[in-house]
């Protein structure tokens, strides 16, 4: 870049900066849309439903404590707070509708269980709620089934444990014998419980893959689309700036300076890159703060957004300069914005569109570039795979259009002086 192009870029940035409302609208409108859409869809980042499970433990045994503890731990802990209550308090709270469910473990629960006698766990659900009480019911059914199977398989061992607990004596020899007995029983049933075709390592892989996946919610799904909408707004505004420069006489006058319109166009390209960089930096800061975008991806994402912005700008500029007047250019660019934003996945994520429309959108320049960044940002795909072809195609499109647009800018300058 020489001095002329730097001057043109610097003054263009200065003018955009002075016209702050334009810049603000590029940023604020898409972000507002994401928040609104996110709210309308229930909010991907809104807190999960959380309920209260009351427990009245009349047995106060090891087994009953284990059962209560299992509700308040692991994945269910995200959904429930377990509160130990007396029978009367449980009754009062349930009547007041202040809990999702109430579990009551009867006296002698552990003894009856270990002695293979029928025993009861009472569950009372809050009829005003649907999901959470049913989750408690299902969880309890699974536990009861598991307890049944344990009773069938390890009846003797459980009996021996019971004796140890009652007596409070834990003899080493008894413990070894108990351990060996459990091991033998497990070995006996292994062929039934763990069919050889299901391999443990496969299971571990799946677990790891799931853990590596970022949190997938509607707002995060919308966010890249909103960023692209900002790029679209910025590109639209900058594609019309050439008509302004024609109208205010800058274009034809620059055409007769020593370095002419080529430097002007390079300067305008530098200005566009600077504006896309500013836009991307601000939006990605919001992304990191609110949408938990991976910070380590930031440099790559920002470079990609600037690149995408330039491609989109060149496309809109092509349509703009193809028109015979500013008015018609304005109409065409505005008309192009809506389908580009809609089909390209800026208003609605491609994931929520009909398959045909999503496919069509992926052929649009913004749709293609957006899909690539989403693959990296949301789906955690390796960037080399996700970005390579969109980059090559985008680069080719931008380069070809750059030369065509430069010719059309020259034509615009000649028209202005004739």
């Amino acid at each position: 870049m020489n001095r002329t192009t730097m001057t043109i870029a610097r003054h263009a940035v200065l003018r955009t900066w002075r016209e702050k409302w334009g810049l603000i609208s590029w940023l604020v409108i898409p972000m507002m849309l994401v928040f609104l859409m996110s709210l309308m869809s229930g909010g991907g980042s809104s807190p999960k439903p959380h309920g209260k499970v009351l427990v009245t433990d009349l047995d106060q045994s090891v087994l009953s404590q284990f059962l209560i503890g299992s509700i308040g731990q692991g994945p269910t802990a995200e959904f429930f707070t377990v509160k130990a209550v007396s029978k009367s308090e449980g009754q009062r709270l349930m009547d007041a509708g202040e809990a999702s469910a109430w579990l009551m473990i009867e006296k002698n629960f552990m003894d009856d269980y270990l002695n293979k006698k029928p025993t009861i766990i009472r569950l009372r659900k809050n009829p005003a709620q649907t999901v959470l009480p049913n989750m408690v019911e299902t969880g309890m059914e699974v536990m009861v089934d598991a307890a049944d199977y344990l009773q069938m398989l390890f009846a003797d061992e459980l009996q021996r444990i019971n004796k140890m607990v009652i007596s409070g004596k834990y003899d080493d020899a008894d413990l070894v014998a108990l351990t060996l007995a459990i091991k033998r029983a497990i070995d006996d049933i292994e062929s039934t419980l763990t069919p050889p075709q299901i391999k443990l390592e496969k299971y571990i892989n799946l677990v790891e893959e799931n853990q590596n996946k970022p949190r997938f919610n509607f707002a995060l799904l919308m966010f890249p689309g909103a960023v692209f909408m900002s790029l679209l707004f910025a590109a639209m505004s900058m594609s019309m700036a050439f008509w302004d420069d024609k109208a205010n006489g800058i274009l034809p006058r620059l055409a007769v300076t020593p370095h002419g319109l080529r430097d002007y166009f390079i300067g305008k390209t530098a200005h566009a890159k600077a504006m896309f960089l500013i836009t991307s930096l601000i939006l990605m800061a919001i992304g990191v703060w609110y949408f938990e975008v991976d910070v380590t991806l930031l440099p790559l994402l920002i470079i990609w957004l600037v690149f995408s912005g330039v491609v989109i700008w060149q496309v809109l500029l092509f349509f703009s300069l193809l028109m015979p007047s500013r008015k018609s250019a304005n109409i065409v660019v505005n008309a192009a914005m809506l389908p580009l934003a809609m089909l390209g996945g800026s208003f609605f994520p491609a994931e929520t569109m009909a398959e045909g429309l999503a496919k069509l959108g992926s052929f649009l320049p913004n749709g293609m570039l957006l899909k690539a960044i989403k693959d990296v940002m949301v789906r955690g795909e390796p960037w080399q795979n996700a970005l390579l072809w969109p980059f090559i195609i985008g680069l080719l499109v931008a380069m070809i259009l750059w030369f065509i647009n430069l010719r059309m800018v020259n034509r615009l300058a000649r028209e202005a002086r004739s």
Binding site: R3, T4, T7, I8, H11, L14, R15, R18, E19, N248, G249, I250, P252, R253, L254, A255, V256, T257, P258, H259, G260, A413, R414, A416, R417, S418
Partner: protein
């Protein structure tokens, strides 16, 4: 300094510039006159490198505009008819922009900006946005942008259109200063009095071709120092033969124009010839550039 040889520009069948040739020397102001659509803009656009001529050679300070365009344009300043300013920048910022576009920078640029601001009388308003300027101030700034790089050749395309008298004086004085500094200036204007005051030589273009060229004195001599008499009335009942002693420019049922030497002394005699024509208006244009222009082109300059 500025040399145009056999410039021709065609758009298909239309000839916008037809074998135009002239030279402008250092320290000379050359007026380019012609009615709208005569070919002035085409000539200026070719001269500034915006249009490529169909044939012919154009050079500025010895550099061909086509072929050595960058060098030629370094010596050229253009004051376009339409303003070419960023209204949302200040006057100084606009000058900075155009100065850098012509390769100036640093302290040299700042010094030149101060000089031209003083020259066009905008030093006090240099930090204000151009959108707050009056029309005349914008015209002065527009002019200042073109002379920042001290061009050896300057094209002024109707620089005083819509300008208040104060700004007009500023601009015309600035042009004279440039002439004194040795610049070759091409000046186009619809204001004949400006051209008469300012230009050393003129060329009159019509229908793409130069129909007269030379100093104003020479052209006046060509015309024979005749005055143009214009009468308005009803001339449908008399014959054009009544004016056989005069050089008739135009004869219509409601208007007659003809050339006459020493019109003031012959006016009563002439009016006698048209006593039955219900004369409503009589005007005499003394031999000047405008009457010369009408004689050559058959049209007023603003037509």
């Amino acid at each position: 300094m500025i040399k145009i040889q056999s410039l021709t520009k065609r758009y298909g069948e239309l000839i916008a510039a037809d074998d135009i040739s002239f030279e402008v020397n250092p320290g000379e102001i050359f007026g380019l006159l012609g009615p709208n659509g005569a070919g002035k803009s085409t000539t200026i656009n070719c001269l500034s490198g915006l249009l490529k001529p169909t044939s012919g050679d154009i050079s500025i300070n010895g550099h061909a505009v086509i072929g050595d365009g960058v060098a030629a344009k370094k010596h050229l300043g253009l004051v376009p008819q339409d303003l070419a300013l960023y209204e949302d920048l200040s006057g100084r910022e606009n000058l900075n922009f155009w100065g850098q576009a012509y390769g100036l920078s640093g302290p040299a640029l700042n010094k030149r900006i101060d000089q031209v601001l003083a020259q066009v009388g905008l030093t006090d308003r240099q930090k204000d946005r151009v959108e707050t300027y009056s029309g005349g101030m914008k015209r002065r700034l527009n002019f200042a942008c073109a002379i920042l790089h001290q061009p050896k050749a300057l094209l002024l395309d109707e620089p005083t259109v819509g300008v208040d008298p104060q700004s007009r004086v500023h601009l015309l004085n600035s042009v004279r200063t440039l002439k004194e500094q040795g610049a070759a200036v091409i000046y186009t204007s619809h204001y004949m009095e400006e051209v008469e005051q300012l230009c050393d030589r003129i060329a009159i273009i019509d229908k793409g071709a130069i129909i007269a060229q030379g100093s104003i004195a020479t052209l006046r001599k060509q015309m024979g120092e005749k005055d143009l008499i214009e009468l308005k009335g009803n001339f449908s009942s008399i014959d054009v033969e009544v004016l056989k002693e005069y050089d008739v420019q135009e004869w219509k049922d409601n208007q007659v124009q003809f050339w006459c030497e020493h019109a003031a002394s012959k006016l009563s005699e002439i009016l006698q010839l048209f006593k039955d024509c219900d004369i409503k208006e009589t005007s005499v244009k003394q031999a000047n550039l405008e009457s010369l222009f009408i004689k050559l082109t058959g049209r007023a300059l603003r037509d």
